[in-house]
Subunit: 154 residues, 2 copies
Amino acid sequence: MRSKLFTAGLALAVGAGYAGIASAQVKPETLVDQRLAAMRLQGKYLYPLVAMAQNRTPYDANTVARNASYLEVLIKMPWDGFDPSTKDVKSRALPEIYAEPAKFKTAQDQMHAEMSKFLATVKTGNEANIKTAVLDLNKVCNSCHDTFRQKPQQ
Amino acid sequence: MRSKLFTAGLALAVGAGYAGIASAQVKPETLVDQRLAAMRLQGKYLYPLVAMAQNRTPYDANTVARNASYLEVLIKMPWDGFDPSTKDVKSRALPEIYAEPAKFKTAQDQMHAEMSKFLATVKTGNEANIKTAVLDLNKVCNSCHDTFRQKPQQ
């Protein structure tokens, strides 16, 4: 428990420190654009792995290793963009993010914990376990989106 | 020279290999959105360092180290988005990118070489040299934009 807090928690604590700097200097619209950019790139590098995990495309260990190394960094980038100053900027972010910050923080912690598990699994090179870890990671992404992001318009 | 080719060249060669995969599967509009996202995040993490280098904000070694580690990864992300399939998608990318691919590739190589120099300088911890390296890096970004990106409308 202590090690989990250390691994996931430290990154978040550092991130939160920088968030203060960012929010003081950057326009809300820019913060929104930047967090969307981080999410978009997470998609760029996660979706091909999901396709492999679902056996829709051939498994490629090099792509998995590369994309995992990118996702390890990208996962740290969106959070300081969810600054309270952005709450009136048009986006799909739901008001719960700012109304229930502790709940949103818990979702971030889950995301970081799942990412750590995924990265550790990638290091083992075990294809079956990696595929499971990719789908678990994707599930945590989607679960946060289900709670904190507006559904697309029908 | 050989080591420079190895460091900067390897990353590009690997990137180019993946570009083939990406272009075969991803819509041109998505490729454009993804490359813009990568550029936007490069701005997010480079501009605060430029402000420090220009003595407009206080120097902060932790931010420099963190942002450098993010930029090291982000610099690899936009290039496969400049796929020929995107040349008719509306963006500020100029036709020279697709008409003169060797020239565009040289600009990418310069960017990667300058990033390697910057990262090596960051490791020394020498504030004055790091500030110079930040400004040199920013100059290479701008030089490529001057050549390959449409100026903003007046």
